[in-house]
């Protein structure tokens, strides 16, 4: 019979079913259903106010869901067992400004139940890793936003977590800091850890995700695998005349994200195999087709396409 320990380590990193949070009348997260396996780097992307922070707060037990279920590392979300193996970088990380960075890490290490002997090695190592070794005895009061973010990253890694949840890790970071976040994510993935990343922007960091979910107004609109499948996902721009709304509606069989301009139709196909079928359909319905241009979709375009140019505000 497998021990509870091994059961836990074979369980998904994060599993949610219809997770929901409502603040008074305001629905922050509608119905979140996610399955994230061990070792995955998962990006949770969406504009400000989309419900990203609320979602991770429910995973961590900071916020009580109004509905649904969630488990983290095989334990109920928010339980002590789950938190033991989780590292978290809150959005806008702040802490007692009268502590030095080394003291902050020691304090958090002790909260993880680590011993002083362990921390004597671990704290300087982490400070080195986030580039703050020279500032170990400086008070946080004198730290810039970027330096605080680095301390925050270090405290999220203290316990060599199986799951690392980062809420907007690149906000306030210069390019060097963003590269640091990217490198940390890679190192953690190579260790076998799962990384869950919230972000409202797209940088080199988000592009390293294995999968991303796009969320807006509390709803996941789309989950994509980035490694590989974005290349298959293709946007197509068609220059054409004599098409009406009923023709566009019919396109929905093979394409998504259909938009039309004066003499132009754009849509996305899951596979290029659909393109000849679509062309036949258009021509046989009397549409004059002048030009068909498949376009490779970048992650940024995908983001804007899914989330909308207005940023969802």
């Amino acid at each position: 019979m497998p021990s509870p320990e091994s059961l836990a380590s074979s369980s998904p990193a994060i599993q949610t079913r219809g997770l929901r949070k409502q603040f008074g009348g305001k629905v922050a997260v509608k119905s979140l259903t996610l399955d994230i396996s061990r070792g995955e780097v998962f990006g949770f992307l969406g504009p400000n106010g989309a419900g990203k922070s609320t979602s991770v707060k429910m995973l961590l037990g900071l916020v009580t869901p109004t509905g649904g279920k969630a488990s983290v590392l095989g334990f109920p979300a928010g339980s002590i067992e789950a938190r033991k193996k989780t590292g978290f970088l809150p959005e806008h990380f702040r802490f007692y400004d009268w502590l030095t960075s080394a003291e902050l890490l020691r304090l958090h290490g002790r909260l993880y139940g680590m011993r002083d002997v362990q921390l004597r090695k671990r704290v300087p190592d982490l400070l080195e890793m986030v580039g703050l070794a020279a500032h170990r005895d400086n008070r946080l009061r004198d730290f810039s936003k970027g330096m605080m973010q680095r301390v925050g990253l270090a405290q999220a890694l203290l316990n060599e977590p199986d799951l690392i949840i980062l809420d907007e890790p690149t906000s306030g970071l210069d390019p060097g800091g963003r590269r640091l976040v990217r490198d940390i994510i890679r190192t953690q993935r190579d260790r076998g850890a799962t990384v869950f990343l919230n972000s409202h922007l797209l940088s080199e960091v988000e592009i390293t995700c294995d999968r991303v979910a796009f969320i807006k107004h509390g709803e996941v609109l789309e989950i994509r695998r980035l490694a590989g499948s974005v290349e298959n996902e293709t946007a197509v721009c068609v220059q054409a005349r004599k098409f009406g709304p009923e023709i566009l509606a019919g396109l929905g069989h093979w394409a998504s994200g259909i938009q039309s301009g004066d003499q132009q139709i754009t849509f996305t196909v899951a596979s290029m195999e659909a393109l000849p079928i679509i062309l036949r359909y258009l021509v046989s319905h009397g549409v004059d087709v002048y030009e068909v241009t498949p376009q490779r979709l970048s992650l940024e375009e995908l983001f804007l396409q899914i989330v909308g140019e207005d940023g969802g505000l």
Partner: protein, 274 residues
């Protein structure tokens, strides 16, 4: 374990952010003022009759203790009002509350830290004041330890209410609310006193209701009763006559009150979204 870590960091915060030192500095300034006043009073009483010569300094000692009590209560509220609401508003609490510790451990630890700080403060101030009074005039408090314990209990009552409100309201609302309740109890205490002297049972009732809502002042008045030399009380030299002394039942009530307030604070902090 989490409890002790949080207690330590809370106590250290009071020391490092200079709350404790500032409070002690203000306290020593106050002691200096008290000592100077008492010194001249003793000199000018040199030719008065021996009973007066003994009792006036005792009365002054009581006034001094009252001021220490007031100082301790204000510091209790100022030091603790921000700890939950402030850390929730800034998000500081998130890094702690996502560690493998229970919420109640976090709050109980903070509570212990503040209690530790206030214990140091009350011991230093009550000890300092009575020593100054004794050295300058020979005045002594009757049951000093009992009195100091009741002052300490009063501080814990305010701390618990401040933590309870801090788990729900903003820092400013919390501070105004707790100090407001304290002022209400203070006023109620005097209404009760005056009512007892003027034989107005309904005024006494008003005072009792006030001390049920917030028992801080009745703890002080019991403390004054314990510390006061019997003659001072009987002669009404000090403003703390024993016209209406809070009963032991009132102390028992205060103990229940502070326990319930702490339990409610722990529950409401554990249940809320951070």
């Amino acid at each position: 374990m989490g409890v002790w870590i949080m207690a330590g960091v809370t106590f250290r915060e009071a020391v490092r952010k200079k709350v404790l030192w500032t409070a002690l500095a203000v306290g020593f300034l106050f002691l200096a003022l008290f000592g100077t006043g008492l010194h001249y009073q003793v000199k000018d009483l040199a030719r008065a009759n021996p009973v007066i010569r003994r009792q006036v300094p005792n009365g002054i000692l009581m006034v001094g203790l009252y001021a220490v009590d007031l100082l301790a209560m204000v510091i209790t509220v100022l030091a603790s009002a921000d700890t939950l609401s402030g850390e929730i508003a800034s998000g500081t609490i998130q890094a702690v509350a996502t560690k493998p510790v229970m919420r109640w451990e976090v709050l109980l630890g903070k509570w212990l830290g503040f209690v530790g700080m206030m214990t140091v403060y009350i011991v230093v101030m009550v000890g300092g004041l009575t020593s100054v009074a004794y050295l300058l005039s020979g005045a002594t408090a009757l049951h000093l330890v009992r009195g100091a314990f009741l002052i300490w209990l009063e501080s814990v009552v305010l701390l618990d209410v401040s933590l309870l409100c801090g788990a729900t309201f903003s820092t400013l609302t919390n501070g105004v609310l707790v100090l407001g309740l304290y002022a209400l109890a203070f006023l109620g205490g005097w209404i009760e006193q005056v009512g007892a002297v003027t034989h107005s049972p309904r005024a006494v009732e008003v005072g009792i209701i006030a001390s049920i809502i917030m028992p801080s002042e009745s703890l002080w008045r019991r403390a004054a009763f314990e510390m006061q030399a019997p003659l001072v009380g009987a002669l009404n030299i000090s403003p703390f006559s024993n016209a209406s002394v809070p009963s032991l039942a009132m102390i028992a009530y205060s103990t229940i009150y502070l326990t319930v307030a702490l339990v409610l604070a722990l529950r409401s902090f554990s249940a809320r979204d951070l």
